[in-house]
């Protein structure tokens, strides 16, 4: 019988995330529950990877888990604070790319090709050779290369393939064998499922294998590439998950999450209550309800949106005809 890949977040993170790993940390519907478990387990020396790294990345930096990032956008650097300071004093390293670049580099990693060309970055200051060894640099000559097409001599930028050691993703549903199904706009996640060497996926729902087989076109990655499935309702909170619940912007205010870059005190005020102070994601949700009530959870529930119509069928003929009856 095929083995189940379902396990707790504690087991998934301790087994599949090693200190020093490069970690895809997600974009839309980021795997906040898994990220908080990484902080809870005090992993260190991690590299963060993502087209745009949102507030989930700020948790990893303030938790001293991540010491470098490869991204097109870092929410943690948006306002003055400790992260901007760490970028200035060299304690936090960074390599600037763009949303398109990271998405393409993950695709190249998934495809098993050494690099992928882009026509982005042409004409920018990014490509100025003097900027290769900037203060945050850790990739240097391996970051990218300005080249010319062997076919028509046109300039392009070669982006090296990106294969994160591990990807942390949150999806709508999966079966116990790790077949993951996703719908809605996906950002760079679609290729991260295939680029990472280890794939940990938290899901809103574990559905039957039959449910997956009945709509295989919704599968974004088959179980053969997945290391662990964690059943984690509200696992994207305070981000949302299409079809389940929407973003909880209010929480980021009241919990102080939006202020953690401003001081160690503000970081600990938030983390001690919402990360270190709870045992796991279930504890996080219990605390949320204690603090704000069931109504607060209900307030982020989805109440609008489209539902697919019947009519789609993966149909075939049981008996094929090789000779015409007549």
């Amino acid at each position: 019988m095929r083995e189940s890949k379902v396990m707790s977040e504690r087991e998934a993170i301790s087994r599949f995330v090693a200190d020093g790993d490069s970690v895809y940390v997600g974009y839309t519907a980021a795997a906040y529950g898994l990220i908080r478990e990484v902080v809870r387990q005090r992993k260190t020396g991690l590299e963060m990877i993502g087209a745009s790294v949102g507030p989930q990345g700020t948790l990893l930096i303030m938790g001293r888990c991540a010491d470098r990032v490869r991204t097109g956008y870092l929410a943690a650097a948006l306002r003055p604070g400790l992260v901007q300071d760490m970028m200035s004093d060299g304690t936090f390293k960074y390599e600037d790319y763009s949303n398109q670049a990271i998405a393409l580099m993950l695709m190249a990693g998934a495809l098993g090709i050494p690099f992928i060309p882009t026509r982005s970055f042409l004409g920018t200051d990014y490509l100025d050779p003097k900027n290769v060894d900037h203060p945050g640099a850790y990739l240097h000559e391996q970051k990218w290369r300005a080249m010319e097409s062997p076919f028509d001599g046109q300039p392009y930028v070669a982006l090296p393939a990106l294969r994160p050691d591990v990807a942390l993703l949150h999806a709508q549903r999966a079966d116990e064998f790790g077949n993951v199904q996703v719908w809605g706009h996906q950002g760079d996640a679609r290729w991260a499922y295939w680029a990472a060497k280890k794939v940990i996926v938290s899901v809103e729902e574990i559905v039957s294998h039959e449910t997956v087989l009945n709509d295989p076109g919704r599968t974004v990655v088959p179980g053969l590439r997945v290391s662990a499935i964690v059943h984690m309702p509200y696992g994207a909170h305070p981000a949302g998950q299409i079809g389940y619940y929407d973003y909880d912007y209010a929480f980021q205010g009241v919990s102080g999450m939006g202020q953690i870059v401003r001081s160690q005190e503000l970081w600990h005020a938030h983390a001690d209550e919402w990360i270190y102070g709870v045992e796991d994601h279930a504890g996080y949700l219990r605390r949320y309800v204690e603090r704000f009530g069931e109504a607060a959870l209900a307030a982020i529930a989805v109440d609008s949106g489209r539902t697919p119509e019947p009519g789609v069928r993966y149909g075939y003929a049981k008996q094929l005809r090789f000779r015409m009856e007549s």
């Binding site: 087209a51 929410a75 398109q100 882009t118 900027n131 996906q186 679609r190 912007y249």
Partner: protein
């Protein structure tokens, strides 16, 4: 009806958008202005985002515009939803985006944008969030409309760091860099509307920003005061029309949480 210059900036940016064609809306005010255009004069505009929503048609009673570009509401009315490789690769780099709409921290006389840092890249005074998809949209959209508050520290002679090429250093520079010669064509600020001196789509002329219209009760000299270089002014500068009540009402309805526009700011 009372309004702020930031509100007028969004309304004017919406008015400046073409009636049809494929538009990619960057982070920030472009989302608000693009949605406004779509619901006002440009129902045939095909609104796309880098997260992977294609040809979004907001419902007439849409409760808000997208909060950021990841808002799930973009899945309600999109003709296709997919991923970022399809949006910034297949759609954009594949040559299907007619106009990109962008915001930035700085813009310069050639329409180059900076989204990354203040100061020197090798010794930054201050880092910003980063470019996101701004760089590829500026490189690869057929035309670019930029929305940015008019401030001398933002309208600079040369951006601290060119994350998103306009005409770079002048005529032909985009082509020499390997890009299509045509770059940005419109900038809308809190003071006025700018075009570019590109008689030949980026191959000739000065390729510099040119003041073409000013907001009500403002004159070119005031705009020059908040511009960090000797700004070119069109021979006949028109005055932008006041925002209509419909425009302002819809604009405010689209931003119910004041996520985009803080009342009374500017």
């Amino acid at each position: 009806m009372e309004y702020t210059l930031a509100e007028l900036m969004c309304v004017v940016a919406a008015r400046e958008m073409p009636k049809e064609g494929t538009v990619m809306l960057g982070m920030g005010l472009p989302v608000l202005a693009g949605t406004l255009a779509k619901l006002m004069h440009a129902p045939e505009l095909r609104v796309c985002t880098e997260v992977g929503a294609f040809d979004w048609e907001p419902r007439p009673d849409v409760p808000r515009t997208s909060i950021g570009i990841h808002d799930f509401i973009l899945n309600d009315g999109a003709a296709m939803v997919s991923d970022m490789v399809d949006a910034l690769g297949t759609l954009l780099m594949g040559g299907n985006v007619d106009i990109g709409v962008l915001a930035a921290a700085q813009v310069d006389r050639f329409g180059n944008l900076n989204t990354l840092l203040m100061g020197d890249y090798l010794a930054p005074e201050r880092r910003l969030g980063g470019t996101g998809g701004n760089t590829e949209i500026a490189c690869l959209a057929k035309r670019v409309l930029t929305i940015m508050p008019q401030e001398r520290r933002r309208f600079v002679s040369r951006v601290d760091f060119n994350t998103s090429p306009g005409y770079i250093s002048g005529p032909g520079a985009r082509r020499r860099a390997g890009l299509d010669p045509q770059g940005p064509n419109i900038v809308v600020s809190t003071f006025g509307v700018f075009g570019f001196d590109t008689p030949d789509g980026g191959e000739s002329g000065s390729c510099e920003m040119v003041l073409e219209a000013v907001f009500p009760n403002l004159d070119p000299d005031t705009v020059k005061l908040e511009t960090g270089w000797d700004l070119r002014v069109a021979p006949h500068v028109r005055e932008v029309e006041e925002p209509t009540e419909d425009e302002l009402t819809l604009l405010r309805r689209l931003d119910p949480h004041h996520f985009y526009l803080t009342p009374g700011r500017y």
